[in-house]
């Protein structure tokens, strides 16, 4: 009987392969990362300027998130160690629920950015891909820094993290999802159901 790899072994191999793959320090992927963030920023600026209703802005943000970010990876990271024991179907369902949840959560805050704008300042290599630095300029306030971490590890050039003045979306969401799971005694199905309503 042939030895079949466990899912965990496959993931470890994939991770090892990813680790030895040259990380996107080349000029080409830096340019791709920059192009991606330029597109994200243009879309965000358009949403801010649109003057749409909150529901409209949330819908727009969901499509921005869907198109430009590696939602599956972000969702899996947020789930943390629980992702390792989850079934494929659960993980997929969680990813879909998470995408809606995070779009609504961040989309609701767009109102605070009305009258402001986002400017792309530059990019540089980080251990996994490219960090693109932007400044958010809001009325009556010193500009603040927002960094996008961009990688092509998923096969496409997508952002996998947003860091606002040092506050890391991945870490915040892992804390949040972890607390939500704890509150539901680790019941992932319940968490998925609840995420759809948040």
């Amino acid at each position: 009987m042939a030895h079949t790899l466990s899912r965990r072994e496959m993931m470890m191999i994939a991770a090892a392969a990813a680790a030895v793959t040259p990380i996107g320090a080349s000029a080409q992927s830096a340019a791709q990362a920059r192009t991606l963030v330029d597109s994200v920023v243009a879309s965000i600026n358009a949403v801010i300027a649109s003057g749409k209703s909150e529901a409209g802005m949330i819908a727009d943000f969901e499509s921005i998130f869907d198109r430009y970010s590696d939602v599956a990876t972000i969702a899996r990271y947020a789930l943390g160690t629980d992702a390792r024991s989850a079934s494929r179907a659960d993980l997929d369902a969680f990813t879909v629920a998470f995408r809606g949840y995070i779009s609504r959560k961040y989309g609701r805050r767009f109102r605070e950015f009305i009258g402001g704008r986002v400017e792309v300042r530059g990019e540089r290599a980080i251990p996994r891909g490219i960090q693109v630095e932007t400044m958010v300029v809001l009325r009556g306030q010193a500009p603040f820094r927002v960094d996008f971490h961009v990688s092509d590890a998923s096969g496409k050039t997508l952002f996998f993290n947003i860091i606002i003045e040092g506050i890391d979306m991945l870490l915040s969401e892992r804390t949040e999802i972890g607390a939500m799971l704890d509150a539901r005694r680790g019941n992932l199905a319940q968490l998925i159901a609840d995420l759809r309503t948040l």
């Binding site: 470890m12 010193a142 607390a179």
Partner: protein, 266 residues
């Protein structure tokens, strides 16, 4: 009068026993929170205070015309500048001190006592700092995480910094008397305006997150470490630091070392 109420605040905080001297965080622990149960109780108190008073008042204040609330936030930001200049000097940050000095001079005069912000409109922004940062520059460790009554998230180092800032504020010697007289009220009012303007974000942290204490703590520590690291010498020395290997780690004082790699996690 101002000094009186400030001293009272400092005294009240001392009574809470929070100036216990900075304890050193054990190696490898990114969140050092030995007082968690006390902190959580204070967090509950702060949330109650917010929902009973601060949130409703701030929601009302923010309905006022922006022109009016801008004057309040501008005034409050301006009177904080002399203290920031002093701290800049104590840190050896002459550039930051100079910027804040010019800002204070411009906004106090052309900006009519700080009600307007011509400096900011010209691109000259505040170099935010405080005595907590001065202590960090001097090499004082961060100490344990704390949540203070009314004031919210802090660390032992920042709490000491906050109290020292109350006493070393040179505003009274520099600005006109009326700036000092309205200082405390303006600062409090300005924070209410901010609470109203960023209501969606504050509400999402305090009332919509599954564990608002853990979330506030994480946000505060990350943001504070970013703010302190960004201005310090050597912040760019090691962009591929150890934190990268540990996806659970918080970014350390160096804001450029804490890259989270979700791809490496599996």
């Amino acid at each position: 009068m101002t000094i009186g109420s400030r001293t009272a605040i400092a005294g009240a905080m001392l009574t809470f026993g929070i100036v216990a001297g900075c304890s050193v965080a054990p190696d490898g622990v990114d969140i050092h929170d030995p007082y968690e149960s006390t902190n959580r109780a204070i967090h509950g108190f702060n949330k109650d205070l917010d929902s009973a008073l601060l949130r409703p008042v701030s929601t009302t204040i923010v309905q006022l015309p922006d022109e009016l609330t801008d004057m309040l936030t501008n005034f409050a930001a301006n009177i904080a500048l002399p203290g920031m200049v002093l701290n800049g000097l104590l840190q050896g940050d002459l550039e930051g001190a100079a910027k804040n000095t010019v800002r204070f001079a411009l906004n106090s005069t052309i900006g009519i006592g700080g009600l307007f912000d011509p400096a900011g409109e010209g691109g000259l922004y505040e170099e935010t700092t405080d005595f907590g940062e001065t202590l960090a520059v001097w090499g004082v460790p961060e100490g344990a995480y704390q949540e203070l009554p009314i004031l919210g998230p802090s660390t032992e180092r920042d709490t000491v910094g906050y109290i020292v800032d109350l006493f070393i504020d040179p505003l009274g010697h520099i600005g006109p008397t009326w700036q000092s007289e309205y200082a405390l009220a303006a600062t409090f009012g300005s924070q209410l305006v901010d609470r109203g303007r960023f209501a969606a974000t504050v509400d999402s942290i305090l009332y919509e997150s599954a564990d608002s204490y853990a979330q506030s703590r994480l946000l505060y520590l990350q943001n504070r470490r970013f703010a302190l690291g960004a201005g310090s010498v050597g912040a760019y020395l090691d962009p591929y630091g150890d934190d990268f290997a540990d996806p659970y780690a918080l970014p350390a004082a160096d804001p450029n070392s804490g890259f989270v790699d979700p791809y490496e996690d599996f």
